[in-house]
């Protein structure tokens, strides 16, 4: 297992390198001069002043040097200053990261806590009213854009409970309850899609497993229906479910990015979109890299988890 983990970690290096190169080139090769954006197209600026700004930002150096500086800076935890607020990018991201992580965790918890039981119930009471309700609900959940759902939830809570998102964000460590009251509702809007996916997948694999011979044998030797469903069938049905949750990591992160904007939560997605509109290139570059890195790490985690659940995978 250790060798397997080591090999997978090593395989991450070229991917991360390629991603950083892609992001760097994407930002640098885009049309338009950063200086024009920064100076707001002010015509009174002399070419000498332009060069001065360029030099302070380190944009006069050759591209490979700039690239190495950026990557080196990230490795050292100091990827430069924000063009807009002149605050270190590292500090901005350190504030934003926990919020996005919290949203994703809440979404996964809801997806597992609701999706798996619903799928099991739906499969073990096949063709019942509950099954149909769960299946139709699943299909609706799959097609519901998270940003619409979030807007509807906001509409509902503001009319019924007079609850509106707070203007300033409370970190979890400062005030856990206050923090959760801000984050749980956005988390639910991110999770609905994944709840639906997990539910459908659990139902499909449970149906397959429940029709296997060993399930019939277990029932025949006198095991209760409940014990067979939960001990024999569910354990075997869970492997594909874990994979499916893993596949949804990208959807979760994209969903979190938009939902953050709607609820005004200053997470990574919110930071990225603000930075894009402000043309704050160092911040755009580093936030994208951070999001992509989290995505790769989460994918790897799911893969390793898969190896833990099913020992055959490790052998490959």
């Amino acid at each position: 297992m250790h060798r397997y983990v080591a090999r997978r970690l090593l395989q991450m290096v070229p991917t991360l390198f390629g991603m950083s190169l892609a992001i760097f080139l994407m930002v640098r090769l885009m049309p338009g001069d950063v200086i024009d954006v920064l100076t707001g197209g002010d015509v009174s600026i002399t070419p000498a002043q332009r060069e001065g700004i360029r030099r302070t930002l380190g944009l006069d150096k050759p591209l490979p040097v700039q690239y190495l500086q950026w990557v080196g800076g990230m490795a050292a935890g100091n990827p430069g200053l924000s063009l807009r607020s002149h605050e270190p990018v590292g500090a901005i991201l350190a504030r934003a990261l926990p919020i996005t992580v919290e949203l994703v965790i809440i979404a996964v918890v809801f997806a597992v806590a609701l999706g798996i039981p619903l799928g099991v119930i739906s499969a073990s009471r096949r063709e019942s009213v509950g099954d149909y309700v769960a299946r139709v609900g699943g299909l609706i959940g799959l097609s519901m854009p998270s940003f619409w759902l979030a807007t509807l939830i906001l509409l509902f809570t503001s009319i019924v409970f007079q609850w509106i998102p707070a203007v300033s964000f409370v970190p979890f460590l400062q005030d856990p309850l206050g923090n959760l009251s801000q984050v749980v509702i956005p988390g639910i809007s991110v999770s609905v899609f994944v709840i639906a996916i997990v539910m459908r997948m659990t139902r499909a694999t449970m149906l397959e497993v429940l029709s296997q011979d060993y399930v019939r044998t277990a029932r025949a030797k006198g095991a209760s229906r409940r014990s067979v469903t939960y001990h024999h069938a569910l354990r075997n049905a869970l492997i594909p479910v874990v994979t499916v949750v893993g596949f949804q990591v990208g959807t979760l992160m994209s969903g979190a990015a938009i939902v953050e904007v709607i609820f005004g939560l200053p997470g990574l997605g919110y930071t990225l979109i603000q930075a894009i509109f402000a043309r704050d290139y160092p911040l755009v570059q580093t936030t994208t890299m951070l999001l992509a890195t989290i995505f790769v790490i989460l994918n790897l985690t799911v893969d390793l988890l898969y190896g833990v659940i099913d020992p055959r995978i490790r052998a490959r």
Partner: protein, 300 residues
């Protein structure tokens, strides 16, 4: 191995196809097919296309015409109500259907063109070229899709054209992977060897043998990614990066509705409902098509 984790769901679902089980001609099968979900999906998609094509002829209200009756609830004169400038929401939702379908079609066409070329060349030639191309594809996969689309559109400048380009680029790797996997599978068949032995040129093999045999998985991909592309455009426009006002798009309308949400909930409800119904239609259709074209993947 490392790649397997990074495949997005639809790509892996549609990937290595067992074409022996797929019917050779799928049109008759489609007609005789007993999948109610697929038929509902096809009906919703057809209705959306008809709405986009003929809606403006039936509902002859200008989507940009302003009226003093602002933020009116739905009524006979304005079935979906009016917005903050007194514009008719039904006319705007109809125009939004045109925008969504156009963006979906163009973006998927871009993704398909890039993906088909990469996948065909990489799969056919193999070796170093394949390894190089697939590394690039892997890197494309290493980004969360919508986040990459947000960055590309943001850097190119917010507009509908740039949103289409960004969505096309983001989903091209998925197509490349599915095409390559299918090509590799077909290349191992005896009839390719026979064709080579008879002296067929590379282009001839690609056009006459490879392309027709990868049609099934590619069609499933197109339906699945049409819905993803429409959803991505709505998300981008919602964030102000896609279609720009005053032109109506579903995402943009939803974004505008946020200010007036409590006064005029219909502004939030109808555009969102339109997105959901269309996405549902494409998802259902994709499900049904997958059952027909790719029987092994049933129930996934």
């Amino acid at each position: 191995m490392s790649q397997s984790a990074l495949v997005e769901p639809s790509a892996s679902e549609a990937s290595p196809t067992d074409l022996q089980e797929a019917p050779r001609s799928w049109i008759p099968t489609l007609l005789s097919w007993r999948n109610p979900i697929g038929i509902v999906g096809a009906a919703i998609v057809a209705l959306t296309v008809l709405t986009a094509a003929f809606g403006p002829l039936l509902w002859r209200v200008q989507y940009s015409a302003q009226h003093y009756r602002r933020l009116q609830p739905p009524s006979l004169a304005t079935p979906m109500g009016t917005d903050e400038l007194g514009r008719d929401l039904l006319a705007r939702v109809i125009h939004g259907a045109q925008v969504s379908l156009q963006v979906g079609a163009v973006a998927v066409l871009i993704a398909l063109t890039i993906g088909l070329t990469l996948g065909l060349v990489a799969g056919y030639y193999g070796g170093t070229l394949d390894a190089f191309m697939m590394r690039i594809v892997d890197i494309g996969f290493a980004f969360p899709g919508l986040v990459l689309a947000i960055v590309i559109t943001g850097l190119l400048g917010p507009s509908r054209t740039n949103a289409m380009i960004a969505i096309g680029i983001v989903y091209a790797p998925a197509f490349a992977r599915v095409v390559r996997a299918s090509v590799l599978e077909i290349l191992s068949r005896p009839f390719i060897e026979a064709s080579r032995a008879l002296g067929s040129s590379t282009p001839a093999i690609m056009v006459r043998h490879l392309l027709p045999n990868i049609v099934a998985p590619v069609i499933v991909m197109i339906t699945v990614y049409l819905s993803t592309a429409i959803l991505s455009e709505a998300a981008l426009s919602f964030l102000g990066l896609g279609t720009q006002p005053p032109e109506p798009s579903w995402g943009g309308m939803l974004n505008a509705s946020r200010t007036y949400m409590e006064l005029a909930p219909w502004m939030t409800i109808f555009p969102g409902l339109a997105i959901m119904v269309v996405i549902m239609g494409f998802n259902f259709l994709g499900d049904g098509l997958r059952d027909v074209l790719d029987p092994r993947l049933k129930d996934v």
